[in-house]
């Protein structure tokens, strides 16, 4: 009986250590605003992301100052006036995905990601389609979706409203390695 319990504990411990996590510190998030007057492109290549395919959990963190714009003045206005990166330095996401991903079989798995996105100090639930690709022992998460700045209390003054779209196209690409 004692041996059995020990064995049971051992398998539990083994199971836990087997829960492989996949991590990156240079994931990509880009957002694009397209209007007839002006296109705005911002890219962050220092996104932290972790995916746990066994528990189907995932999380993202990025620094707002890591978003780079082609025009420096836009970047300054983004940090100073819109996203207020001194006050809210980070954006983060935590959630899970539904859909089956077999880490032992290479392939692209479509999934649905659900979770809480915190941006500009405001947390909102979001639900977006994504794909998870298993390739050469790595896991690549990819998603394209739209975000509305107004949902996160990011105000666009009327004088520049025609130059900034009311919805941003967001692209996420994270290539995670086993931790």
């Amino acid at each position: 009986m004692k041996n059995f319990l020990l064995l049971f504990l051992f398998t539990l411990a083994l199971q836990k250590s087997h829960a492989q996590m996949y991590l990156t510190r240079n994931g990509y998030i880009g957002f694009f605003s397209k209007t007839p007057l002006e296109n705005v492109i911002a890219e962050n290549r220092q996104v932290y992301a972790v995916i746990d395919p066994d528990k189907k959990n995932l999380a993202f963190v990025s620094l707002m100052k890591g978003f780079l714009f082609a025009k420096e003045l836009m970047q300054e206005h983004f940090n100073e006036n819109y996203i207020e990166s001194d006050k809210y330095p980070k954006a983060s996401f935590t959630g899970n995905f539904t859909g089956d991903v077999d880490v032992k079989t290479e392939g692209v798995y479509p999934v649905q990601v659900n979770g809480q996105l915190t941006l500009h100090g405001i947390t909102k639930p979001i639900q977006v389609p994504a794909t998870i690709e298993v390739h050469q022992g790595k896991i690549t998460g990819k998603s394209d979706f739209k975000l509305t700045p107004a949902d996160f209390d990011i105000k666009i003054p009327s004088i520049v409203r025609e130059k900034i779209a009311s919805q941003m196209d967001v692209h996420v690409l994270v290539e995670c390695n086993p931790k």
């Binding site: 004692k2 049971f8 003045l73 300054e76 520049v160 130059k163």
Partner: protein
Amino acid sequence: MHKLIRTTLFLMLLYRSSASAQDTTLLNLLNDSLSNHHQPDVVTGTFKATQIINTPTVQAPAKRSLQFLIMHRFGRLNEGGYALFGLDNATIRFGLDYGITDWLAVGVGRSSLEKTYDGSFKLKLLRQTTGKIPVSVSLYELLTYTTLRYSDKPFLTSRFRTAYTSQLLIAKKISSKLSLQLTPAFMHFNLVKNPADKNNIWEIGLGGRIKITKRMSINAEYNYLPDNQVVTDRVYHSLSLGLDIETGGHVFQLVFSNSQGMIGPYYLAKTMDRWGKGGIFFGFNISRSFSFKK
């Protein structure tokens, strides 16, 4: 034996609870990793404009961007109702500034006051960096050349029409709202009115801004000119107040100043009016930035 079963159950419970708490655990893992690898930040947006009011700030046009600046001052408020409190008269300066690199910008300008042309550069020496460099420091060099014709002064050759202004801009963004700048200046005039007037003049300025909204700030600058340097003319220290309004690529500045001139030698060493007597010039600065990147 009972004890062992209890421990097992406890461990199982612990295991289950840790599994359900995984969400935040993953986020904590990332946050820890982020704070371990985070690089210091270069502080940006110390000021909205390239000038507090007249004094240049540590801000400069970014690489491959051009700024067009119009500085405009009406006449004195104490000119009274007949001249509509100065609005009948005006002096103006047009300026173009271009960022060659992220640390060097060059500029040209032309003021209607004494029909003066100017050329300048602004060199960023230090950038305020969180936890590393406490202040931003830039060097501003300005050469001015007056072209106003004097029929009674035929000796005014190009040499005598030229003056040089050097300013060291030492700025600190203390908080997202408050920025201050200390600006020691040195000027050299090739020609002064009398032997008692100094050709080399020292001056020190202090200025800053307080943001009142995300896109508006109140600015002030005071330029202290130590005595016994300019003696022939009765000159005063320059005090200016302004309101910045930023809209996309424009910055509007509404200005009140006892200085009529808007470039180095004029507001620093040739301020002939004083606030107490209503010798105040109302005006504005408008800048528009153009980027030549895609």
